[in-house]
Every structure is written in C-alpha cells, then in structure tokens.
C-alpha cells in the first residue's frame, strides 16, 4: 500500500535530493566506524599475536597454535637476568619522571602565561626532541659524554630520557593551563595571599592531577625506551635491553611472556594516568 508513494516522490525530487537520500542510506552502513575498528585491529595485531603466542605450547613453528601453557611465564619469571634489569628500569623511569616534572612544569607556566620575544621559537626548540629520531638524540649524547670522558651509567641514560620526555610534560601541563581559570588565583591574592601562598594553596592542588598524570605517562615512556638507552648505558642493563638481547638471540617463547608482562605493567600505569583525568595529548 505504501510502496508506490516513495517511488513517486523519488521521481519528483531533484537529483541533489536523490543523492542526499542515497547518502543517507550509505550512512546507515557505518563505513567509517568499521574502518576505524579495522585500523585499531591493525594497530593491535602484533600485540594480540604476542599475547597469543605467549600461551602457545609449541616452540618450533608458530602456526598452527597447539595447546595452552603457562610455562613460558614461569620460565620468564625464573630468568635471573630480569630482576636487576627491572630494578634499573624502575630507577631510571622514576628519576626521569621526577626530573621532567621539576623542569617542565614551571616552564609550562611561563610559556602559557607570559608573552615575550622568540617565545614560539623557544617553545619549538624545547619540544623538538620528541619529533626527532631517537637515534640522533641517543648518538649525539653518546659522543658528547665521550668527549667529556663521562663514564656511561644509569645517570647518562636518565639524562637522555629526560631530553626526550620533557616535551610531553610541557605539552600536558600547557594544555591544562590553557583552560585554567587564573581568576581564582587572583581572588586568593585579593584576599591577602602572597604569590607563593596562592600558588601552593590554590593553583597547585588544582593542577596536581595533571602533573602526576604527566609523570606516569613519562614513567611509562621511559620504562619502554630502547634506542637512547642502547647507546648511553654502561655495564648495567634495563628491561628493554634484556628484551633486545633475547630478540637478537632468536626465537625464544619466554620472550613473548616477558613482553606481555611488561606491556601489562605499562598499561596499568597508563590506566592510572588516565583515571587521574588531567592528561590530554590532543584536542
């Protein structure tokens, strides 16, 4: 009964309206959403493979998958090399996060609240390392330390990590300050607070989640950083270095298990950073 009516309407409407109707119908198929899902699947494909293989019981040949096992996790956890490496990774990552926060937070205040000559040039220079190949940052530091006859150690590694990570602190805190209502700070000043008091009792508590979130972000990044570490580490080792040496030695199923555990830990750190809600990388 209703059949012919839309047909007649369809004949009557101009071509552009038909196109729009067709467009609507095309829009019923969520092409973009499907594409986004596929893109994310591609992004996480190697991670899914890693987790899958970490439970696979065969050693030789990857496919087809055989049975479920936890022995690679057991083997990875009984590898004596990983514990000192984990300790070193934690030392470097915590130091990097703390130093980055101490250097980056005050700088973000000046860069968002003051205007001065060459400001955008300076900001560009300060965030430059994050967009350069880590190879360049790592090798430059290596040759710099060698020229000064500085022995390579966890300290030289941390110095390198801060160069690469500090831009993230700058960006995260700047993004927060850009939407911060500084009228509250002025209100505190009007009520008799000194500038330091106003900062300590009003501004800082409000931006603290952002700073802690940024530090966790940097912790995760430093914990995972390989290239800069590779060139600037001395006799000690960090987890990515252990993983690298296992990778170089060839197929080792406990490597998948170790990688999956390290990733699980990083994700946990990032979940906490995200929960604090102050961290925005884009937008």
């Amino acid at each position: 009964m209703n059949g012919p009516v839309p047909q007649e309407v369809g004949r009557a409407v101009p071509a552009t309206r038909v196109a729009r109707v067709a467009g609507l119908r095309l829009r019923d198929v969520p092409l973009l959403e499907i594409y986004a899902a596929l893109a994310l699947l591609f992004l996480f494909l190697p991670v899914l493979m890693l987790v899958m293989l970490s439970f696979n019981s065969t050693v030789t040949g990857i496919f087809p998958l055989k049975g479920f096992t936890l022995k690679w996790y057991d083997q990875a956890l009984h590898n004596q090399i990983i514990w000192p490496a984990l300790q070193n990774s934690l030392i470097v990552a915590i130091s990097t996060a703390v130093v980055s926060a101490l250097l980056g937070t005050p700088a973000a205040f000046t860069l968002t609240r003051r205007s001065f000559r060459f400001k955008s040039l300076l900001r560009g220079l300060l965030v430059l390392p994050m967009s350069l190949p880590t190879l360049l940052v790592g090798i430059s530091l290596l040759s710099f330390f060698a020229t000064l006859s500085v022995t390579r150690s966890l300290l030289t590694v941390t110095i390198g990590h801060v160069v690469y990570c500090v831009p993230y602190m700058l960006l995260v805190v700047s993004a927060r300050l850009a939407e911060f209502d500084f009228a509250i700070e002025e209100a505190a000043r009007d009520l008799g607070a000194t500038p330091f008091q106003a900062f300590r009792m009003v501004t800082f508590p409000l931006i603290r989640p952002t700073i802690i979130g940024g530090m966790l972000l940097i912790f995760a990044q430093s914990f995972d950083m390989f290239v800069i570490t590779f060139f600037n580490i001395g006799a000690q080792s960090t987890l990515p270095m252990v993983i690298w040496s296992m990778v170089r030695l060839g197929i080792n199923p406990s490597l998948n298990a170790l990688g999956a555990m390290v990733m699980g830990f990083s994700i946990l750190v990032l979940v906490v950073a995200n929960r604090l809600g102050g961290v925005k990388l884009a937008g």
Binding site: A19, L32, E33, Y35, A39, L40, F42, L43, L45, P46, V47, M49, L50, L53, F63, L102, L103, P106, A107, T110, L111, R114, L122, L126, P129, S131, L132, L135, L136, V137, I139, S140, L141, L142, S143, F144, A146, G160, V162, V163, P195, L217, A220, Q221, D224, M225, F226, V227, P240, I243, V247, N256, V262, M263, I267, L270, N274, L281, A282, G283
Partner: protein, 291 residues
Amino acid sequence: MAMVAGLADRRRVGPLVQLGPLALYMFVFFVVPVGVFLLYSFWTVREWDVVRVWNLANYRDVFSSPVYPQLILRSLGVGVATAVLSVVVVYPLAYTLAFRLEKYRDLILFLLAISLFSNYVVRIYAWRSILSSNGLVNYVLMALGLADGPRSYLMYTPWAVVLVLLNVYIPFATLPIFSALLNIERDLLDAASDLGANPLRTFLQVTLPLSMPGVVAAFIFIFLLAAGDFVTPELVGGINGMMIGNAVATQFGMVSNWPLGAAMVFSTILVFLLALAALLAARRAAGLVRV
C-alpha cells in the same frame, strides 16, 4: 618605591627562574651534543681512537662508497612511503574519532596512548611471527588455498619495513590530524551545508583544507621518525631492507668508527635538504610557467 621595584624585579626574574632550568638543560644536553656530534663528522679515527684532525674524508667516504648512498636514498624513500601511507590510512580514523564515535573517543585515544608508550621493541619483534614463512599471513593464505606452501617473500624487504613502521607510528600520525579536525568550528561545516554543499563537497572544500596543518605535521613527524628508525629494519628488513640507521648504529657499535657514522647522519640530512630545496625550486618554477 622599594616594593614597586621588587615587584618589577620579580616580574622580570620570574620567567627566568621558571624557564631557565629547562632551557639550560636542553641547551647542555641536546643542542651542545648535536653540535659535538656534527664536529665528530669532521674528525678522524687512528688506531681505534678519535683524533681531532679536521678533514672532509668521512663525507668523501660516505658518498664514494657503493653502499651508503643507496642506504641513504632507501631511508628517505622508506620515510616518504611510510609518511604518505600513514596520512592516507590514518585520516579516516582521525576523522571518525573527531566527528563520529564521540562515545568511544576517550577509549580510542587511550588505546592510541597505550601503543604510543609501550612495547616498542617487542611490537616490532611480534611482526616476525606475522610476516615470516610460518607466520600468520602465510597461515591464513594457505588455509584459504591462496598459497600452496610457506613463503618468505613478505619478510626482509623494504615493504616489510614500511608496513611495520606504519604500524608503529600510527598513534603519532593520528593525534595531530585528530587535533586539527577537532579544532575546526562546526559552524563552518553547517554554513557549507546550509549554502547547498553536499557532504562530499563540504569535506573537500572546507574540512580537508582546514585540517591540512595537522596532515602536514603528521607527515613531517612520520617522515623523520621512519627515515631515522633502525630497530625496524634490523628486525624485519634483512639485507634488502637495511637502512642508513643500521649502518650508523654499526659504526657506533662493533666497528667503532664514530666520525664515519656521524658523517653518515649529516650526509643523510644534507641529501634530504637538497632534495627538499630542489622540490621547492621545481614548484616555484612550475608556478612561474603557469603565470
């Protein structure tokens, strides 16, 4: 008076105290090291020691070698290919993230952050179990009857390097484009459609041009990171996918000819700048001809 002077002083000193430490840190541990690294490229090695004798021999060695120029060109080629593919692959994702899927936006941004900040080496390594002759791709092809046995043509090629680099740097490409799209004022898009533009025309004439700064930023970002990567070619590139970063890393590792390694890096930068200048000159020339 004294108080006023004190305030004025604090106003002048404040930024210095806030910005000074970071600026100093970055000068000492970033700008100076890159400068020292540049100096290295003009020094020389004698009996395993770097000697500060100034010469251009390292650059001559790089450009007259049968291998290094090829590696430099391949690195730039892989960089361009990865950057082009990244922008094309990532744009619809960033678009969907900015204009649809508002409900899942935070979750997806979080997923991007996870892959941005975790498991760089292991993720590249995992690609071997996808691309190798007994890996996922071949397994699926064989199951579908599209391949009759294990094949190894996927691994150890420049295209394997491009594919893995594309995968590794997707978050780096998505975020700038997403930001640019998010900052487009919705009123402009409404205006375009009110004036009769269909969705495609609105996209081509309003959305796309306004998002170009993000696209350009993503392109430059990915180009630099991909061309300078050495872990990916090391693990999935083989001999045919080797890049200049591998040769540089070797000079700083086993071979220990740092000046030559430094010269390789700055030769690559030089070739890149010359290519860029030629491109810009050609564009200007084309513009002149048209006028």
